[in-house]
Structures are given as C-alpha cells and as structure tokens.
C-alpha cells in the first residue's frame, strides 16, 4: 500500500513483474547472455543512480529480496508475475510458472501468477493450457510474440493456431491476455512486435481482456488508435513509467497521449520488476504533474483520482479483486520471509 503525503492509503496492484533466472548457469547460449544484458542496460539506462544494482543481483533474485523489493520496501499490495520461457535461450526457461508459484506460496494472497504458452506448439499448447488451468488455476497469460522457436522468429496473435488457444482460454475463464508489445528485440519489416494483430484479435475475442504491455512503444500512436476503437484493450505502463525520472517531460507526453486517447480507466501500472523496483516509480508517479503547456494542448490532467485508478483499481477490476476485502485480508497477514 502506498501512503500519500496527506495520509491517504492507495491500493497498488503491480501488473508486470518477473521472478526470473538469467544467471550464467541457466543461459543456454550467447542469446541468453545478450538478453539479460539488454534488460540490465534498460535498468542502468533509466534508473536513478541510487537504485542501481550489481549485475549479479540483477541476474537472479532471491525469494526474500523479491518480497522486500515489492511489498516491504516497495508499496505493492499485490503483484502479477508473468511467465516468459525463452526456451531457446535459457535451459530451465527465463521465468517459469512453477518457480514463480513456489515464490507466491511463501505469502499467499500477494501474487497472481500468470502462465504463458506458445501457439506454435500446436496440440501441445492446448494441453499445456489445460495443465496450467488445472494445476495453477491461472487467470491470465503473458504472450511474447517475438519468442524464437526453432526456425520461427515470431508469431502473430491472429495465427490460426493462436486463435485455437484463445478459444480455449475463453472457455476455461483465462480472460486476461497480456501481450508484450514493446521495445524491439529483433524487429524486421515483418515485425513481431507490431501492434496491428491486437486489433483483429481483440475484435474476435470480445470476452477476453487484452493488456498491451509497454503500450506498444515505440508505436504509441498505433496502439492508441487500436485501444480507442476496442473496448477490451488496455495499456500497461511498464517501461514507459521509468522515463518519469530521466525525462519527465517525455513521460508527460506519453501519459497525455494515453489519457487523451484511451482514457484513465484503461491504463495499468506495472514496475517491470526486476528491471525496476516499484518504490521509486510509485513515489515519483504520485508526485507527478503534467506540465501546463502539454496538459493544455491535450486537455488532460493526472489527478489523484486518476492516479489511484492507474495504480491499482483498474487492474483489480480485470482480476475480479474486491479491493476493500483484499485490504482487510492483507492487513491480517503481514509479509513473512522464510530464511533462505
């Protein structure tokens, strides 16, 4: 929970976190090394100096550290852990649902662990969705359309094999589909992170919520256009938010575009932990005001009421969380950290 300077308690649901293992022992090849190095560069590039971590600490976190960063030092009430496998790069996967579930079980009620699947696996992907539902009762999945799989260097949400998976998700009540549409890892003209496929998938699956992580950046205009047309498309602030420190005016322009086009009900906070930690992000976000000239040009402002929605209330709605009940539950269960 985040306490505002005037004492108001704000419910924080961090929609985009990971419990990864990018350590050299888990790297399968040079791609695995380059991938975590690239994340580390995001970390060093956009974090305030006093928040910088050693490389080794960044590559793999302990259970204790995660709880500390998110819930003790950090203001999160709850966090969604996304699964990202990258099996071609990491021996045991980059962040697996099994490992994240073990973390979540240390303090029940704090985490929502999302699954992931690769539609290119065909029938196996469908079986795997059943497995995740039955074993972990997942409410959402994270899609990584640029993941390599053998000769394939990416897929689209509109691929027939993907549609079969989404049909199954809808049937099983896995209704939150988080899609990484963000910084380019390997963009060609046929860009695996282009946002166009979201438009069709969201229209064809109105019963699913499509949460576009990183708001499609660097294709913010395309994303805004789609999210404005489609009632079930949301924008996740991960990666956009850290600019609030290094380039606040630039962040102001991004958030103004989002508020103008998609409105305050469809923007979701995400720290992208462990690339960044939620403590400084939430503090700076609460203090933030859009500069007058930008606010005037776009006719928007970031009020406290809007900030509260972005920090937690919007995501709580998507995950059927009764905020008052959840607060009462968490107040009864302070974080316990088992000895490592």
């Amino acid at each position: 929970m985040f306490k505002t300077p005037d004492g108001k308690e704000i419910f924080v649901l961090d929609c985009h976190t990971h419990f990864w293992n990018g350590s050299p022992e888990n790297q399968r090849n040079v791609h695995g090394k380059q991938f975590i190095d690239c994340f580390y560069a995001y970390h060093t590039g956009l974090s305030p100096k006093e928040q910088l971590w050693e490389k080794e600490k960044f590559e793999k976190q302990t259970v204790e550290q995660v709880y500390r960063d998110l819930f003790i030092d950090g203001p999160d009430d709850m966090a969604i852990i996304q699964s990202t496998y990258l099996k071609d790069f990491y021996k045991e996967g980059f962040s697996s649902i099994e490992r994240s579930t073990q973390l979540a079980e240390v303090n029940p009620g704090r985490f929502i662990v999302n699954g992931s699947f690769d539609p290119r696996d065909g029938e196996k992907a469908l079986e795997y969705i059943h497995y995740m539902k039955e074993t972990f009762d997942i409410k959402g999945v994270k899609m990584y359309t640029a993941e390599w799989n053998g000769d394939s260097k990416g897929w689209k949400l509109t691929d027939p094999s993907a549609y079969k998976c989404f049909e199954l998700c809808e049937k099983l009540g896995i209704k939150n589909i988080h899609v990484h549409k963000g910084p380019t890892i390997r963009p060609l003209s046929k860009d695996a992170f282009a946002v166009g496929d979201v438009d069709d998938a969201a229209t064809d699956f109105l019963g699913l919520n499509w949460i576009i992580e990183h708001c499609g950046l660097p294709r913010l205009d395309d994303f805004c256009w789609i999210a404005t047309q489609e009632s079930n498309v949301y924008g996740g602030l991960a990666v956009a938010l850290p600019f609030i420190h290094s380039r606040p005016r630039y962040f102001a322009e991004i958030i103004s575009e989002l508020l103008f086009w998609i409105g305050p009900e469809k923007i979701l906070f995400g720290s992208d932990y462990a690339i960044w930690t939620p403590q400084w992000l939430v503090e700076k976000f609460w203090d933030f005001q859009i500069p007058e000239d930008i606010a005037q040009e776009r006719g928007v402002q970031l009020t406290d009421e809007i900030k509260e929605k972005i920090l937690g209330l919007n995501a709580a709605r998507l995950y059927d969380i009764d905020v008052a009940a959840k607060r009462a539950e968490l107040a009864q269960a302070p974080i316990r950290i088992a000895a490592e």
């Binding site: 060093t44 060609l188 003209s189 205009d221």
Partner: protein
C-alpha cells in the same frame, strides 16, 4: 562512446563524410552517436568498423547504416576500395557479407526483411527525419509567439532569414530541415512555402494543429528508440558520456565543432542572418 583514432588527411575526409550518415531511426549522425569504432585508410583502401548499441538492433537499420558507410567511404576520388565491418551483432556475418559484396546486398536484405525494398525503407526514414526536423523548427517558432498563420505563411526566403538563437533545438534542426526540404525538391524558389507536407502540399493554417499532433506522435516513437539506444550503448560499453562536454582538440582537428551549424546546401540566403518574422 568515444572517438576512433583518425590518422591522416584521407581518414579525416572519410570521417567528415561519415557525419552525413545517420542512424535512420534516431536521425542523428553515427559519428555523434559513437557507433564508429575504427577508421583506417591504407593506399586508398578504407576500412571502417562500427558497432550498434545492442546485439539485437534491428538488422535492417544495420543494413542501412552499413550501406551509408560504404557509400561515404567510396565517395572520395582517391578511394579505390572499402571494407565495412559490423561488430557484435546477431546478424553481423550476413550484413558484412552483403555490404562487402560477397553476396548480393539487395538479395540478402530482401530475404532478411520479408521482401522489403531497401530504397523504400530509406524513403520512409527520410520522411520521418524531415517531419521530425520540421516539428522542432515549428515548435521553436510557436515558443517565440508565432501564430499558425504566420508559420504556414513563411516562405523559404523568410525561413533562411530566421533568427532562432533563443531556441537551441530549433536552431540546430533548421539547417538539417532545410537540407531535406531543398534536396528533395519540396521547396526550390525563395517564395515557396517553407513548411509543407512530405508530399509537397502546402499546409493551410487551420490544419497546422492536427499536423503538429501527428508530428508529436512520430517524435514520441522516435525519442523512445533514441533514449533506449543511448541507454543501451552506455551500458554496453561502460564508456563515459561525453555529450554536452566542452569539445577537445580532437573535435577541432576532425572538424566536429560546430558539427551541425554549417548550411548543408549552398542555396539561398545565409541561414543565420538577422531575425525576421514572416
């Protein structure tokens, strides 16, 4: 992101020419971005090694830059051969084979970019650069209190006479905007409008607001890439960020000071003549 060692007049000439090669996505000279790692000339043979901010940087941008570097290296009359080497990139081998003529450049590019045409891609980024530079100048004028009608009514001659000394970003982009404007034939005569669309259509003042919104969206996207690129480059090579520091002797030797103030074209009045409001 330091500078390579440049020895000899021929190497200096190539270095200056490399200043016209931009990162297509950022619209900034590769020499300013610190991408060029080595530049050597021996008996008319030019060898240039360059490195991008990440192992994953888009291969088609790597292609465009490699191609631009090759052209710059071969431009001097004395240059008889050029070898361009992209370092530490997931497609380094393919890009290097293509750019150095071991394989057909166009064929390898088309194969890697799903049939896209290199010249189309180049055109796309030229348009982005044009619009981004245009926005910087127009925003400078707005900050100086110009009305939309004054801006859209400005002629090329009036543009050349602008004094933007209180608007550093606009002042920096002014000659760069003009370079594309004139080189691509979007404005030729002194009375031609200075601010037009990429298709060369004039901008009515009542449409300038919408036009600026589109330019802002374009800039947000490009700046995102730029910020990421700079952060990644700094982290990858753990090198000191020298931008914003006082120029050193090497900068003067290499003609890097001031790097962007020279008019890129000889047409028209001096770009820095005293102020004038259109």
């Amino acid at each position: 992101m330091g500078l390579p060692q440049i020895k000899g007049a021929q190497a200096r000439e190539v270095w200056r020419r490399l200043g016209a090669v931009t990162d297509p996505e950022l619209d900034e000279p590769i020499t300013d971005m610190g991408f060029v790692e080595r530049l050597e000339v021996r008996r008319g043979e030019v060898e240039i090694a360059f490195r991008l901010p990440t192992y994953w940087c888009s291969p088609n941008f790597a292609f465009l830059m490699a191609d631009g570097i090759r052209r710059a290296a071969l431009a001097p009359s004395w240059a008889c051969a050029a070898r361009v080497v992209l370092l530490d990139h997931c497609y380094a081998e393919r890009v290097n084979a293509a750019v150095n003529g071991d394989q057909s450049f166009d064929a390898v590019f088309a194969e890697m970019s799903d049939g896209a045409d290199l010249s189309e891609l180049r055109e796309t980024f030229r348009e982005k650069a044009f619009l981004r530079r245009q926005e910087a100048v127009i925003r400078g004028l707005i900050a100086m209190g110009w009305t939309h009608a004054q801006i859209t009514g400005l002629s090329l001659a009036g543009f050349d006479a602008l004094n933007l000394s209180n608007q550093p970003e606009a002042a920096m982009q002014k000659p760069r905007y003009r370079e594309i404007l004139v080189a691509d034939g979007l404005a030729l005569l002194p009375d031609d409008p200075a601010f037009v669309t990429w298709r060369g259509d004039p901008l009515p003042s009542e449409e300038l607001g919408d036009h600026l919104m589109r330019l802002r969206a374009l800039r947000i996207n490009m700046e995102f890439n730029g910020a990421m690129c700079r952060g990644l480059a700094a982290a990858r090579y753990k090198e000191v960020d020298r931008s914003g520091e006082e120029p050193e002797l090497i900068d003067f030797i290499l003609g890097r000071v001031p790097p962007r103030e020279q008019p890129a074209s000889t047409y028209g009045a001096s770009p820095d003549s005293p102020g004038h409001r259109g």
